[in-house]
Structures are given as structure tokens and as C-alpha cells.
């Protein structure tokens, strides 16, 4: 009856945008020993003071149900939704990738960036900053390809996600 296989879950949490709300969510995860693979947060409705937190976590079915219930128990939490099981959804991440090289490697970096539809948002004579969006896997693949081509730094946003279709969450 209890499934013990681990699975990934992308959980969307709609919260009141008030001081300490992120600390509550993070404290819940660390205090109860849940994993956080990725966490993003930003205000989504300034007038209604609502923020949206997207958490990618992993655990057994029982643990993921617990995580949802524990989140829902927090007073400033309006709604939690496990997007992974509640129908189709879109998941994206944005990364800024800094590469420093010259000559043929520099041209190769630009060529690969073009294939990945990454945009150069900063350029010096010996460096680029690429902006890339896509799935986790796509960004990881891009970063791996940049490694031998002079990768200096990566800054990733973490995953944001939203359900497909006309309904909210």
C-alpha cells in the first residue's frame, strides 16, 4: 500500500507575501528533513500581496503527500499543488552562463549558443554572458558543453512551473 519508490515533485505554493514566509517554508523542509532540489520565489500579484513559490523536491509518495500537507498547514499558505501529478504542466529555468575564451573556442561557444537559442547579453573582447531558458536538462547540457570552451560562472534561477490549460495553478 505504501509505495516506497522515490519520485520527483514540482510543487507550486501560493503564499501571502509577508516577512518571514520564505523562512517558514525553508524551515519546514530543513526541520523535517525533506529535500529541496530547487526553490524559486517571487511576488506574482502586488495588489493582492501574493507570492508564488515553486519547489522541486523528491521523496516517496507518502513523504510528498506529507510535504503538501505540512505546507498547507502554514498560516500564510493559500494553496499548494503538486504539478507533477495534477495534470500537464510547463517547467522552465533561466540561466546566465559566462564564458571566457578567444580564437576558435570563442567562435565554437557562439555557435553552440546559437543551436541552444541562447542569447549573448554581454560581450567583451574575450568573454560572453549567455542567457538561456529551457528545461533543467537543456540548461545542464548547455553548461556541460561550455565547460571545455572557457566556462567561468553559471547563475541559475531554479525551476518555475505552471499548469497547462486555462485553469489557475
Amino acid at each position: 500500500m505504501i509505495k516506497s519508490e522515490q519520485r520527483k515533485a514540482t510543487i507550486a505554493v501560493l503564499v501571502d507575501n509577508e516577512p518571514g514566509v520564505l523562512a517558514r517554508v525553508i524551515g519546514l523542509f530543513s526541520g523535517r528533513g525533506y529535500n529541496i532540489d530547487s526553490l524559486t520565489v517571487s511576488e506574482v500579484d502586488a495588489a493582492a500581496h501574493l507570492s508564488r513559490i515553486t519547489i522541486v523536491t523528491s521523496g516517496t509518495e507518502m513523504v510528498i503527500t506529507q510535504i503538501k500537507a505540512q505546507l498547507q498547514r502554514l498560516v500564510p499558505v493559500h494553496r499548494t499543488s503538486d504539478l507533477t501529478v495534477e495534470g500537464p504542466y510547463v517547467e522552465r529555468e533561466l540561466a546566465l552562463v559566462k564564458v571566457s575564451s578567444s580564437g576558435e573556442t570563442r567562435v565554437e561557444a557562439l555557435r553552440i549558443a546559437d543551436i541552444f537559442r541562447a542569447r549573448a547579453v554581454d560581450s567583451t573582447i574575450n568573454s560572453f554572458v549567455f542567457e538561456i531558458t529551457g528545461s533543467l536538462e537543456k540548461i545542464s547540457a548547455f553548461v556541460d558543453l561550455m565547460r571545455p570552451l572557457g566556462l567561468v560562472d553559471v547563475s541559475r534561477t531554479g525551476v518555475v512551473a505552471i499548469s497547462r490549460g486555462p485553469d489557475p495553478i
Binding site: 500500500m1 505504501i2 503564499v15 501571502d16 516577512p19 518571514g20 523562512a23 517558514r24 524551515g27 526541520g31 507518502m62 503527500t65 506529507q66 500537507a69 505540512q70 498547507q72 498547514r73 502554514l74 498560516v75 500564510p76 499558505v77 493559500h78
Partner: protein, 589 residues
Amino acid sequence: MAQDRMTGSEILVKALVDQGVDVLFGYPGGAVLPIYDAIFQQNQLRHILVRQEGGAVHAAEGYARSTGKVGVVLVTSGPGATNCVTGLTDALMDSIPVVCLTGQVATHLIGNDAFQEADTVGITRPCTKHNYLVKSIEDLARTIHEAFHVAKSGRPGPVVVDLPKDVMTALGSYLPPAKARHRSYNPQVKGDLSRIEQAVDLLANAKKPLIYAGGGVINAGPAASQLLTNLADLTGAPTTLTLMGLGALPASHKNFVGMVGMHGSLEANMCMHDCDVMLCVGARFDDRVTGRLDAFSPGSKKIHIDIDASSINKNIAVDVPIIGDCAYVLEDIIKVWKSRQAKCDGKALASWWDEIEGWRARDSFKYTQSGEVIKPQYALERLNAHLKGRDDVFISTEVGQHQMWAAQFLDFEKPNHWMTSGGLGTMGYGLPAAMGVQVAHPDALCIDVAGEASILMNIQEMATLAQYRLPVKVFILNNRWMGMVRQWQEFFFGGRYSESYMDSLPDFVKLAESFGAVGLRVSDPEKLDDVIAEMIATPSAVIVDVAVDPNENVYPMIPAGAAHNQITMSPDEQAVLDAASTDEGLALV
């Protein structure tokens, strides 16, 4: 316009009065001086000055648990707030509604390591149901009202409101409590009807039903306890209670099979193990109740009623989860049961009760009082005999062996008359809790059943008893050991009694007298009854120092990590204990 401007402190007092508060447990200090000044100038709120802030929280817990109201604490910033952490955690674990008002340094000083500054909302975030820092006078009244709503509704718990000093002196306007729905926090009280019907189906077709009820029934109010009793009558099902649930079903009820868990009765634990349908009401499958999870009640279908969705499927997977307030759900179960004219299988039920009577006949709490030393169980059995027939008795306990014996040997006929620290197991809880109960029920007989080790953890509250003439009786079972620690060292650590002997104990009789209370001592079993009678008859606070057998252990016992049917009944069964205790079990608490 100008005249309806009030100071923050005045707004706070008005909000508390509007919330029905009549008493605060607190301790003043720099950051709360404006609040104490406002308290000085009014007479609607009574302030009880405790002797350490930790005592204030436990007192508020005792007050809350014995009245069903919210207990209120007022302490200063920094150490005042940090001293509350244990009590807040205790209230969180046992779902006790408490509002704790903490002073804070002025808003412009926050974050500057000011004198007596602590990050109170940061420190108390994991040990409260919710907490607030009030940064503006305009948020004050609304926040206080919301704090009370959050503390008492849904699964109750402690709420901290941190109050910077400048907000308390600022001028603002008062807002009365609002009726509006909270933006995000709206706990579900009614259970899902289709699930309730499933539950009735299961119960009606059970051959070996069991009702297992806990502190949630007490929290749902006296009506819930009455409904639980009605359901036990209707179904004929044996009913067990957790430590926190004692009193939810009268101890004298024919269906009561005793407390469940590590030191629960044989019949209760065997019922848990062998039942085919388990109805869990307001309990949370705590590790002290379940024992080894993979051997927990292997053959039963489980129904779980809880107001907190996160309690469901946390430790044990259940078949029919029902989220809702116990009182509402029990009422609906009874309605459906009656409308269907459901009946249990009488023949099956009779043979189930035959089995139970077999276990009961083994008298798992038995002990032998012989010789010249008082057995702790005997002391409590006699105390219970003296309390029989009175309905104005409130019992609190500290934590350890005496707590388990009190749970085993004292009878609770009504809810809200038993205060104990269940989830957190806080030594030092009982005396301040009894104090809070006595404040709420000035004419009642409030007894703290204590151990000589626990009582010393909050002994300073004897001065509070003296100041407010609170006639609490402290009944110490003095075995000169941290008894439960000694018991585990004897069972599981080869009798190496590391740091568990209570050397240099005070003279409890003189100690009592120094606090203006009466001190009594007894070591002769023959004189025990007289001393108990004298304690009860004494109009002031009393400490009774009962010298008990230092070698007595709490039985029965299910070792940590063992199954319910691996229960050890008596010292003669050390072999059973050895077989049941495993390395994994020893790693558990």
C-alpha cells in the same frame, strides 16, 4: 478624533479584554514596561507574576487545558522570550492554545544587537503554530485578534506576537475583532460525508472493532467526549485512550480498556494489535503508541479522524482518512449509524470481549505492596481512592515514572481534568501547570503528581503559589532517582546508572515551609492514608514527600522498536524484554 487615539499598550489591553482574556501569566522587563504600565491602570485583566518565564507558559497551558480557553503569556524581550521556548514547544506538541506576547526592542534597534534583543520570531518559528512581529501600530489590534483565532481554531497551538517597545508607546486606533474569513487560514471542520459512510460500513461489519482516541477529542470540547462515549455505547467497541486523551471516555465506562502505548495496559495494546477495524479519533499514531511500525496492528482497516491533514498517513498508512473536527465528525458518524440502524455482529463482538477479558484478567498494572516501603503504585492507588466521587479534582504531572503510574492508577471521569506533557515530555511542567489550573479553578483540588527530580526544575513557582494563595498540592513520589532514566539504564544499559541518582536532595518539608506552604512526609505505608487525607484537608499549598521504593519499574512495557504483542509484563519477564529489544529499537528514544 483625537480622543479615540490610544497607545499601543492600551490597544493591546483592549484587544485582550475583547478576546475574553481574564488572566495573564507573565514577568516584566525593560521592553514590556509600557504594557505593564497599562496593566497597572486597569482592572479587567488579572496578572499572575511567575518566577521564571518558562513557568508562565506551562501555567498558561494548564489554564488552557482545564478551561478550553486560550492561555495568555506576557514576557519581556531577549531572555524573557527565549525562556519561553520550551513551553511553546510543549504547547505545539500537545496542541494547546496559547498566545505568548513577547516584548521586543524598538523597531529602529531591531537587528543592531541591542540590549536584551533576540530574534524572537526567528527563534520561535519552528516551535509555534504561527508568529508575528508587529512593526506598526496600525497592525496591532488586527494581529492580536488574528493570533487568538489561529491559536484556538483548527489544531490548536501556541502563537507568539512580538511587540516592539516603540509600537507599544505609539498612538493608533483600535479595531474590534472582525468576523471576516481569514485570507488563507480556514481549517476544515466538517468531515467528508462519503468517507464517514465508509467508516460506518467498516465499523458495522467489524468483528473486532477498536476505538482509539486521543487529545484531539479533548481539544474538540466536552461535547466531543460525550459523542465519543455515545459511539462507544452504540457500537459496543472497546475503547482505548492515549496519554493525552485520558478523560475523553470515563475511566469507569465498561468499554474502556485502559491507556494504550509503551506503558499502556495489556488489553489496550493487544486490542490495537489484534483488532480488525480501528477508529482513530484525534490521535496521531505517535511512536509511543505504535511501537514497531511494520508490526503495528497488521490485520486492521484503519479509519483516522484528524483536523490536521498532515497527521494523516504520517507514520501509519490508513484506509479511510477523515479530515475534520472530532466533534463534527463523531456527530455525523452517529447520525449515519442511527439512520442506517446499523448493528455490530453481536456474536463476534461477544467473543472479542471474551478475548479482552482474558487479557484484562492478567491485570497488567499489578504490583505487590508488602513490607515497610511504600510502592509508588500503592501511593497513587490510595490517592485515587481519596479522590473518588469528587468532580473538582485536577491532576497534573511532571515527566517520568510517576507520570506513567499516574496515568495507569488515577481514574479520569471527565475531560480537561488531566494535564500532562505528552509529546515533548517536559520535566518541570506539572507545578506551573497546576498553578495555571488553580488560577482558573480557585476552589478546585489541584494536585501535581511529581517526582523529586522533575519538581526541582520549576520549584521557584512555589513562590507564585504563596503570593496568590494558590493551594496546589504537590505529591512527590520520591525514589531518589530519575526513575525512568534509571529504569532504562537497568533494562538496556547493563545497570550502569550514569548520573541518574539524585544526590543532595533538599529537605522537601523545610522547602515547603520556606515558601509558606505546608510540608508533609511519609515513608510508612500504614500512615499513607492519613497523610493524603491531611494534604487534601489543608487549605494552603502543600508539598507531600512520599518516600517510595527506589527499585520499582513501570510495567507493562513495550520496548522502543518492539511490537504490541511483545509486551513485558513484570520483572520475571526480563527474557521477553531482551528478545523484544533490538539494536534498532535502542537507537530510538
